[in-house]
């Protein structure tokens, strides 16, 4: 009797295990590719400022404080979607929000900041994707959390909303904010 019970239970167990694995796979998003740059220093770069044409700004300006580097473009609908949240974050949380305007036109980008608010302490203007490749950017929006020493601690792919901010971003920011 016992032998024949296990005979049926083993395939059933195997089926349930496979079903659970496949169900877990359904929840994964294949468009989210983990970045090899996490826990590595942000590559050093210089780019023109979006807001001050002709002025070069350097990635060194990010050092000393935890900052968010938000990759965005005016042509990207999800960037618009998260924009209000970024404005609120910049105003309320005290985290330094830095923009990385990616493959965009300056006039359209400035127009978007003018209409929807400007959360950015400064904005790098990477019109040609010269630096974007070094950062492994493959879409917008993407947001890096960079610690005070210039090490990338997290990369968010996709827009930031209240839930993402609370559950995913804030714990990392708190962890790397210098105490005192």
């Amino acid at each position: 009797m016992a032998a024949s019970t296990t005979r049926y239970l083993v395939p059933l167990g195997a089926f349930l295990a496979l079903a659970a694995l496949l169900f877990y796979g359904l929840g994964l998003d294949p468009s989210k590719v983990p970045s090899p740059l996490v826990d590595k220093p942000l590559p050093a770069f210089q780019l023109e400022s979006l807001k001050d044409p002709g002025k070069l700004i350097s990635s060194d300006a990010l050092k000393g404080k935890v900052s968010l580097v938000n990759v965005w473009a005016s042509w990207c609908p999800s960037c618009r979607q998260e924009h209000a949240k970024l404005v609120r974050v910049a105003r309320e949380s005290g985290v330094k929000v830095v923009g990385f305007n990616w493959k965009d036109e300056r006039s359209a980008a400035l127009e978007m900041l003018h209409r929807f608010g400007d959360p950015y302490a400064m904005v790098f203007y990477d019109h040609t994707n010269k630096v974007g490749i070094d950062l492994g950017v493959y879409g917008a929006p993407e947001t890096f959390i960079v610690d005070p020493n210039g090490i990338i601690r997290h990369k968010r792919i996709g827009p930031i909303n209240d839930k993402v901010w609370q559950d995913e971003m804030l714990p990392v920011i708190k962890k790397y904010t210098p105490k005192g």
Binding site: P30, S31, V33, P34, S35, P36, L37, K103, T128, N129, G132, I133, D134, L135, G136, Y138, G139
Partner: protein, 163 residues
């Protein structure tokens, strides 16, 4: 043959000739020798476009793929080897840019998993076959055995009386 019956072979031929589909994405690049062009095609064919993940860098029309093709082209022009270029992209975008992932602990399951499954399946198959071969077709409990004997005996007896 009717024109209709020619359609399928024509479509198949077009599919098989798919290599030339890439041609337009490579239009803007010029090469000194056909060998250089072939090397560029080979390399971009082995790299995945991160935007349209089922397309290679050679075939994808996405804007990012075009940027990356330019980058690869510039590096080849600068005399970098295929390995160096591949490493450049992997450092930035991760192993995911490679269609053929490297063999390392985190990909062991991917590389060897199918063989393990085949092995497990083969063991089960062999065990089942061996058991079937050695066991009698069906085993009866002693009770059933005696019942069958009784029934057969009764049938035999009734045949005898019928004669």
């Amino acid at each position: 043959m009717s024109p209709r019956s020619l359609l399928a072979p024509a479509l198949l031929a077009a599919l098989l000739a798919g290599g030339s589909v890439n041609a337009f994405t490579l239009q803007e690049f010029s090469f000194d020798t056909p060998a250089h062009e072939q090397a560029f095609r080979d390399l971009t064919g082995k790299l995945r476009c991160l935007v349209c993940q089922n397309e290679s860098l050679a075939a994808s029309q996405s804007d990012l793929a075009q940027d990356l093709r330019r980058e690869v082209y510039a590096m080849m022009r600068a005399g970098k080897s295929q390995d160096e270029i591949t490493r450049f992209l992997v450092d930035r975008y991760g192993d995911f840019v490679l269609y053929q992932p490297p063999v390392k602990p985190s990909t062991y399951l991917l590389w060897f998993g199918p063989f393990i499954l085949i092995g497990v399946g083969a063991v089960f198959l062999l065990r089942t076959l061996r058991r079937r071969g050695s066991e009698p077709e069906q085993t009866l409990s002693p009770d059933d055995q005696t019942r069958i004997e009784q029934i057969l005996a009764a049938a035999e007896a009734s045949k005898e009386t019928a004669k």
